[in-house]
């Protein structure tokens, strides 16, 4: 995994490339923490990610939570590869805001209201 932080006017864009797996989980956590500390808006770009495991998903979720708590914006930016979306879906994260994106949308705001929704009906993508 490779994480690149791009800062501009209070917005920090974290570009993640390669496999986001347990091997790089500590690194991802550090990058996300760094980004959270340095900006008011966090954009995570998964366009070049090639794989995503549970450790990465829960880190993204935790980052999202942290941003929400401090009133910052958190978005998954960029075209998320279909494979990553499938991963989110398979892990049952489909109702989880961070994954509730269409692959087309460039940047989606998180809807805090949908957190904790209990439905297990699959959502069409």
């Amino acid at each position: 995994m490779q994480a690149t932080l791009e800062q501009s006017a209070g917005v920090c864009r974290v570009r993640l490339q390669g496999d986001l797996s347990i091997a790089s989980a500590a690194e991802l956590k550090a990058s996300l923490l760094g980004a959270l500390a340095s900006a008011t808006e966090l954009q995570v770009d998964l366009a070049e990610a090639t794989a995503l495991d549970i450790t990465a998903m829960q880190l993204l979720w935790a980052a999202n939570e942290a941003a929400r708590r401090s009133g910052h914006a958190f978005t998954l930016a960029g075209n998320i590869p279909e494979e990553m979306l499938l991963g989110f879906r398979e892990a049952g994260f489909e109702n989880i805001p961070i994954a509730q994106l269409s692959p087309k949308s460039n940047s989606t705001l998180i809807d805090p209201n949908s957190i904790g929704s209990n439905s297990i009906e699959p959502k069409p993508y």
Partner: protein
């Protein structure tokens, strides 16, 4: 990281193989025990699965054939035969060789591998035409699963433990595997994910509630999680009442096409007579339907009355124990030993300074060190089970080769012994069992003629007795012909022709070096081969051997072994300025020896202890120390194989629990000293071996070259003490 996991796999696989071996041998005795078949199958499945997971593809492929064979057995399409058991045992050897190869030791032969694979295939292929008679299975085309199985919904709750991902398991992959069983709906619960700052990035905090719609049974669902059962919480429950489905249909697992086939066949032809158990209680055991129907009955039995997914081996101990390389443990015990020495020095100083505060601290430290030492020794203690179980195979193979019927029974397998003792126990026990099998146990015809059961028994047992462990190897064979042994011993000049010998003394002659090798006496008495090897190994362990035998009834060889080799309880004694430790275990009492006593005995080295005449060895003389005897000396009376003997010393300083240090390679020839220890003041005390001291004294006495031998040992001991003092 991968290597670490591979290593863990290899170690685990070795454990499983040991278990597997004994299960197979047990199966050979009880060929219809379905639970055993299930156990064997699961062990193989585990090896295959984790082998594949860690990149042992060749191994996994090989085990696959073996597993298939037992799948056939589970499905009643193949009966357990000697052929299958022997083939499986050979296959186990091959798996062991493959594991050895993986750690760079030796090479597994590919030919053997192919040969075994071919034989296994032939065995399993046969089943297609010759099914077990009890279950005539017509050749039915495999129906699609859906056609024969009712699908139902299962609620699966899966909560990975803290280390699940660190151990290389991936929940996503597990769920993907679940999806292969049927339609899966997944809901992740994220409530346990901590704030990002406190989050352990390598731990999975997510848990899942899933609904799986499948025709597979709980067993098959649990099988998906088979490698992580220790690492997660898992519950599998049926959601709601499904249309009554034949039990067999539910157990058909798509995991194995063979199982599926059996399910299909059973559903079409077998017609279970008993309705399925109420769905609300997943723990209910499958009904005793027709044999063909119980395709996985043995498997589910193991899970009976336990939450699904938890297996028999998952005792709490398993889940909470850790694996540590033995070398690390040895280092630890070594360090504790050093600590004991330093503590002794501290205590010494504290007493000399007469400082109550330091004494108090020193006493506290003493208490802690003692506890620490006991605990550290305890860690090294292992049940003898594995050592005993290993001999099942030996007995099985030997019985086959010798055409004898022998059953091995085990008692007290939970008795714990120090690992280093256990490690060195294998050889002597193997020799003893071989002897029993070869010479002790008669042929079936002979046994019948003698009115005995044709099947003989070898009984291994272990039990504690004070600071020792008694291990006995008993057979119900012909026993030892004491007269023949005696005759032979006289012939060899080991005993005088008119010597008065008790039976046990005669039997112990067998242990004499060279007694066995010269001539075959097996036809007369049995015993002999390698008995002095046994004696030597047991003596190395500071143990003793006792043989009892009754003609026509059997022979029992009992090994008395110390619990541990690292520590010895001894009595610290002084002769001049030299310190010695005598093992407490053999010491009976200390009595005073005055000039008067010596005069009474006319200068002979014997003492009268409450009417009993006890010969003694004066260590001062034995080690050739200056002839300046104190007015009062002390005799330490010790029990040896040769009877009671006294050792005369200047002073007895008290009991002393010591950590034994080896003298090193140079002093290996010094027999009468079993090691050395460092005292509180930094001096070295040699630990004496009373047994060998007495034997040496007797030998030099009879040979008549006492002075020469004494001189030799004195020099060696002196040298050893000097070297130890120099190195400490």
């Amino acid at each position: 990281m991968t290597d670490k996991f591979k290593q863990a796999f290899i170690e685990e696989a070795r454990d499983i193989l040991v278990e597997l071996e004994s299960s197979l041998l047990e199966l050979n005795e009880n060929r219809t025990d379905r639970e055993l078949v299930g156990r064997v199958f699961r062990a193989m499945h585990t090896i295959k699965g984790s082998g594949g997971m860690f990149g042992f593809d060749k191994l996994a492929a090989f085990v696959h054939n073996l597993e298939n064979a037992f799948d056939e057995v589970l499905n009643n399409r193949l009966a357990v035969s000697s052929e299958l058991v022997n083939l499986s045992l050979s296959a186990l050897d091959q798996i062991k060789a493959m594991l050895q190869e993986a750690v760079g030791q030796g090479q597994a032969s590919d030919e053997v591998c192919q040969d075994l694979t071919a034989k296994l295939r032939r065995l399993t292929e046969k089943t297609e035409t010759t099914a077990v008679p009890a279950t005539p299975l017509p050749p039915v085309p495999v129906a699609p699963l859906a056609a024969v199985t009712e699908t139902r919904e299962w609620a699966v709750h899966f909560r990975p433990g803290a280390d699940l991902m660190r151990n290389g398991a991936d929940p996503l992959l597990l769920m993907r595997e679940l999806r292969q069983l049927g339609d899966l709906r997944v809901k992740a619960s994220l409530t346990e994910i901590p704030p990002i700052g406190e989050l352990d990035p390598e731990r999975c905090y997510v848990s899942w509630d899933m609904v799986l719609t499948t025709g597979a049974g709980a067993e098959a669902i649990a099988d998906v999680f088979i490698f992580v059962t220790d690492l997660c919480e898992l519950t599998i429950e049926p959601m709601k009442e499904a249309t009554p489905a034949p039990v067999v249909a539910q157990v058909a697992a798509p995991i194995s096409p063979v199982t599926a086939l059996a399910g299909a066949l059973a559903a079409l032809g077998g017609k279970p007579a008993i309705p399925p158990p109420p769905m609300a209680s997943p723990s209910a055991s499958p009904p005793p339907g027709p044999k063909a129907a119980g395709s996985k009955a043995a498997g589910s039995k193991a899970v009976e009355s336990k939450p699904w997914g938890r297996r028999q081996s998952d005792t709490p101990d398993n889940a909470t124990s850790i694996r540590v390389p033995a070398a690390k443990l040895d280092q630890f015990v070594d360090l504790v030993g050093e600590l004991v020495t330093v503590q002794a020095r501290l205590f010494d100083i504290a007493v000399r300074r007469e400082d109550p505060e330091v004494v108090a601290v020193s006493e506290e430290i003493e208490r802690l060190t003692t506890a620490l030492r006991e605990k550290s020794i305890g860690i090294r203690m292992l049940p003898i089970r594995a050592t005993f179980e290993r001999f099942r195979r030996l007995v099985h193979d030997l019985a086959r080769d010798l055409h004898k019927e022998v059953e091995l029974t085990i008692e007290g397998a939970e008795t714990e012994l120090d690992k280093s003792v256990l490690d060195q126990l294998n050889d002597p026990m193997m020799h003893l069992i071989r002897n029993s099998m070869d010479h002790g146990i008669e042929s079936a015809e002979k046994r019948r003629a003698a009115g005995k059961r044709p099947g003989a028994t070898i009984h291994l047992s272990a039990r504690h007795s004070g600071a020792s462990v008694l291990i006995s190897i008993a057979d119900d064979g012909g026993g030892i012909d004491a007269a023949a042994v005696r005759e032979r011993a006289v012939e060899k000049g080991l005993v005088a022709a008119d010597a008065q010998l008790s039976e046990s003394q005669i039997f112990s002659l067998i242990l004499a070096p060279g007694f066995s090798t010269a001539r075959q006496i097996t036809d007369v008495s049995g015993r002999g081969v390698g008995m002095d090897v046994v004696r030597r190994s047991v003596e190395m362990l500071r143990g003793g051997i006792e043989i009892t035998s009754k003609p026509g009834i059997g022979t029992t060889v009992t090994l008395r072994l110390p619990l541990t080799l690292a520590i010895i309880d001894g009595l610290l004694v002084r002769v001049e300025r030299a310190y010695f430790v005598l093992p407490l275990a053999t010491t009976l009492e200390c009595i005073e020896l005055t000039r008067k006593d010596i005069e009474k005995a006319n200068g002979k080295h014997v003492a009268n202890v409450r009417g009993e005449i006890i010969p003694y060895i004066r260590l001062r003389e034995y080690f050739n120390m200056p002839e300046k005897r104190p007015e009062r000396e002390q005799i330490m009376v010790a029990e040896t194989e040769e009877g009671r003997f006294g050792f005369v010393v200047d002073e007895v300083l008290g009991d002393h629990q010591t950590v034994i240090k080896n003298l090193g390679r140079f002093y290996r020839q010094v027999e009468m000293v079993s090691g050395a220890t460092i005292l509180g003041n930094g001096t070295v005390a040699l630990i004496l071996d009373p047994q060998r001291l007495v034997r040496d004294a007797l030998r030099t006495m009879t040979v008549g070259s006492r002075a020469g031998a004494r001189e030799k040992s004195r020099l060696a001991v002196k040298e050893a003490a000097g070297a130890m003092a120099a190195s400490s």
